[in-house]
Subunit: 208 residues, 4 copies
């Protein structure tokens, strides 16, 4: 997995610019999520307006879910890059791959907001979030195996194991929800909320 050629190329310690660029992409993607929530043109009377607002609920729900997924990935990215102290070209590319999924999330989120009752949409969304998580795991995995990129001696052992376990747990829940979707699409979508419990469970397992 290491790169025998091109060692003179595109290495450096100024990881800030990558972190900065990633943060800007996160910020834009998370803001664009809200653009999906738009009122259709309705007559300017109270009843029509109220009905239209209530009709926005699925889009709002999908915004909420996606906002907190992206927010959680931002916190996780934060945690990963906290320990990275140098980059090489491959790390930049894996991080770009991760950002590509973040950038595409408003699309899957709008699918969920509009056709959330369709199984294919639940599957697309679950795969999307799973593959985003796996890309971030790849960033962690790639950097933590190269002492030039990450000084793992500095990482708290529990934090290390926490990051490894968590990076498997999120995709597992989403892949599991694909199985559930063959029985009930709603059940699959509600099962995603389990993600917000992972941290509590892992903290309990790993001890304080």
């Amino acid at each position: 997995m290491t790169n025998p050629q091109g060692h003179w190329l595109e290495r450096g310690n100024e990881i800030e610019r990558t972190v900065f660029f990633s943060d800007a992409v996160f910020a834009i993607a998370i803001t664009l999520l809200a653009l999906e929530i738009r009122l259709p043109d309705v007559a300017d009377d109270p009843t029509a307006l109220q009905e239209a607002l209530i009709g926005l609920w699925p889009k709002f729900f999908s915004f909420l879910i996606s906002f907190w997924f992206v927010g959680n990935y931002w916190v996780a990215h934060h945690r990963v890059f906290h320990y990275i102290r140098a980059y090489d070209r491959r790390l930049l590319l894996i991080n770009l791959l991760f950002l590509m999924w973040i950038v595409l999330l408003p699309f899957s989120s709008s699918l969920l907001g509009e056709y959330g009752n369709q199984q294919i949409v639940a599957i697309i969304y679950a795969l999307h979030v799973a593959v985003t998580g796996l890309s971030l795991s790849w960033v962690w995995w790639y950097a933590s195996r190269d002492p030039r990129l990450m000084d793992t001696a500095q990482v708290d052992t529990r934090e290390f194991r926490y990051n490894e376990l968590r990076s498997l747990a999120v995709p597992l829940i989403f892949l599991f929800s694909i199985g559930v979707s063959f029985y009930s699409v709603s059940a699959a979508e509600y099962s995603w909320l389990l993600v917000f419990l992972i941290r509590a469970v892992l903290v309990r397992i790993l001890g304080r």
Copy 2:
């Protein structure tokens, strides 16, 4: 309110990345506000164009109001994070909650621009701004109670009281405007402008 478990997790002194991410979200949300002001397709003759431009006034008014609310929250966020010197996971999440309301503001602002004469829209907008303010108060409140996060000894006493009072005054005005909206929607909306007087009043009360 403190977090007995998981102290080894997600703490740090590099508050800059959070500040940076928040600034980017502010910048995007404030810019997207202007996207609401769009001319409908009109015939290419002077009279039709002039009428269409005049017809944009409610959207422009709603942009102005929302721009300065977001701008004010940016200045307030600036002031709060000026004193924060470390973060934990909970602080990140409360800040994300605050940013969620900022991200949603272009939606409420577009409602106001299009259906501003409807009471329900005035109520939604007032609740939205109030809850945004309360979330920022929560950031301040949470951080200022934990000496690891904020060294309150460093904060000017008047500034401290100013922040505490202001963080209650903004939501109070907006909740009060909801009451007003049952008599007159316009009066409720104009009462929001009182927010721009809070600072002068508080500075007078607290002394120089």
Copy 3:
């Protein structure tokens, strides 16, 4: 113009966050300008497509003009904040006012792209750019009169006079173009290009 009250409030030397926020707003506004250039749905045959692409020229022209105006203001903002070393609340607010005009520029730019042959649009655009320039002049003027905000002893005398003269020259050209628009709208719009000559003229006047 100084602020006798509230000196304990919202002052500081960390001007970076303001610069950063301004840069993000610039970056978003400049990118949104390009969103105006959109192909209408046409039949998928070469002739229709070519005609539609040629029909985009006015929008492309308006994008070009606006991109370089915003770019020039970014460079000018850069120059002004290069010398600012502290902020107070009023400086933050004047800077926000300046950013409000930047944020609104995609709107005036889209007007220009669609109804550029109408006098009222030429007037709106000219006023918009003039008032943007005057707001930036206000930032410079306010900061350069307060030694706590800007150490004018550090500013090169020629640069100082250059900034003062340029900040008047840009609005003058645009206000002059409004007069021209009563004779010819096209001539008024082409006269805007004079802005790109200001620097050369001023450098000649002020000497190397």
Copy 4:
């Protein structure tokens, strides 16, 4: 090419703000690319939805291509500015020119997604990417010839030659693809993927 007049104007060592602004523009442009992928309104039944999703493939392909082109230019911009230690006005303007092409890329990308089978679209896209690359080459070329802007003694000789060769290779491939488009539009578009092999070829030529 150097600028005999105006040496007192707009020079400085704080290159960070330019890098930062460029990164923000990159981040927004790369995120807006994904906005092109939108589902048309379809009936809420599985077959219609599946067909609509499959019909999005050309837009998705064009997103993928454009995302990785912008990503590659970001990495290249990163590499160029790694060595730049000061700026003058001309460098800022050349960099703005480069950013103008980045900002316009979502437009050409949407053309490609919708009318990718048309020769004129393949030519526009190829010219666009070529001219973007040439603008970045100009940044490198301009800065590397002025020792005040770039300390070329610090640059690894192989990296120097790599940057010079690569900055010619990318436009060459795209100009070559224009020739190919007269025989087959698809072949021209697939030939763009050669760009992703340039690095491997150059690393082999220049040695480790």
